[in-house]
Amino acid sequence: MADYSLIIIGGGLSGLAAGIRFARFGGSVLILEKHVIPGGLNSYYFRKGFLLETGLHAMTNFAEPGDKRAPLNRLFRQLKLSRHDFITHEQFSSLIHFPAGNTLRFSNDFSLLQEQIASRFPAEIDGFNSLLAVVNGYDPFTPKAWISTRVMLARFLHDPLLIDMILLPLMVYGNSEEHDMDFSQFVIMFRSIYQEGFFRPDGTMKDFLALLVDKFTSYGGEIRYSSPVESIAITDQQASHVKLAGGETITCDAVISTVGAPGTFAMLSLPRQEEKYAGRMTFVESIYILPRQTKKEVKSDHTIIFYCLSDQLQYCQPVKPVDTSWGVICFPENFQGMPPSDYFQIRITHAANYDLWKKASPLEYTAMKQEWGAKSREMSAKIIGNYEQNIVYEDSFTPITIERYTAKARGAVYGSPVKIKDGRTPCRNVFIAGTDQGFLGIVGSMLSGVSIVNQHILTDN
């Protein structure tokens, strides 16, 4: 008999959700996490007494408790977590900011976006509402051939500016493709961001992860940290055990890997196929901590500002280390009903070029961080005003940081542009969940873990 029925590689959100789902019905399951704490891309760390979150700007897919079909509430039912005990804080509102004073505001009340489009793009509102009818009637979960979102949008909207404005938040929060996106992915993102909206859990990412780990261990699930998997051993065309970097082997009946397609293939001693499966969209992010009393000096009435200061959105890997012409400015404290704190944060995110960061020497890397941090502050100051003089602490991460802590090939936070929607690999008891399976964001990646367990592990297909 195997040591475990199921081994899950990666203790990020998809791995934890898969683990809870399987352990809930009595299955023996072990999660192997290479880092010292759980969370993967959505984790946390401490510096100078501040708890800093990685990844999270906001959770998407807001839904009130009781709305049974909403993805957030379906997820909670699947994990047997009480939605009523889960306290959430909704966003204030967010802003899409383009050149020449073109802005659109949106909130968790979808009608605000409709009103904004009607008043700023009056010739386009009928087209937008026709697009909305298509989105509402679309099933994005049934596998189908790739459809260009830009071609679809051009059927309903004529102003390229409005198309880019609508696309920016949806792309930057979950598109692994450059320039365009699959229409199914567009529909998922449109619903999760514009129709459902942004929120954050009460407490920190550390608390949220503790809730998940506690649930998992309460069902008898086990998790081991600092346990990088080196390989998955195959016997008679089936995975029989995993081998840890230290040499230890653990036997199992099935494996769910959340480390992405290239990393999983490498563990199976198959070609990594990076040219096909490694995404090109990766990011740098700067985190600034400032005293609360200086908040009034910056334009900080929104939760998230999605900006583009060039005429056309270039959603692609930049030719320079960082593209500051567009980005995201997030105020993590700007959610309704958050307890007051002595400090507030500004987080600024831009697309980055993995190769240029990767090839830098340690000295060059530090210099690049400083140079691009300064450019980022200069650019963001054009939108929210100067804040540099008030910064008490700053930190930043690059594609290299992401790669080191999360196992995402080339630091591509949204993974492969080619998704493996059925989660299957060439090995029949090894499955892929998480980013490269296709659902994105915190709620999405957790649903990915749940659905792979439901489809392949709980039901005997």
Partner: protein
């Protein structure tokens, strides 16, 4: 297990799955799915709970037998008779 006991088990499992389930006024001959607004993922939970509690294997081809409360009882009665 009697039909009444089986009914109680099903209702208890549903209440366990869905903290918002409203069992009052449930019509035993109407689809549970429509009345409780459940989806296929929730139905898998019913199947899995029955497996966990009674070691009962319900093949996917039989899932439709669980559509209504009455059809659940009809389907489970011979399987749980000995318990």
């Amino acid at each position: 297990m009697t039909r009444g006991e089986i009914k109680d088990v099903i209702l208890e499992i549903i209440a366990d799955i869905d903290e918002d389930a409203d069992m009052d006024g449930l019509n035993p001959d109407e689809p549970l799915r429509d009345q409780l607004d459940l989806d296929s993922m929730d139905f898998l939970d019913i199947v899995m709970e029955l497996r966990k509690r009674y070691k009962l294997q319900i093949p996917e081809a039989d899932y439709h037998e669980l559509a209504t409360l009455t059809s659940c009882i009809n389907y489970l009665e011979p399987k749980l008779k000995a318990l």
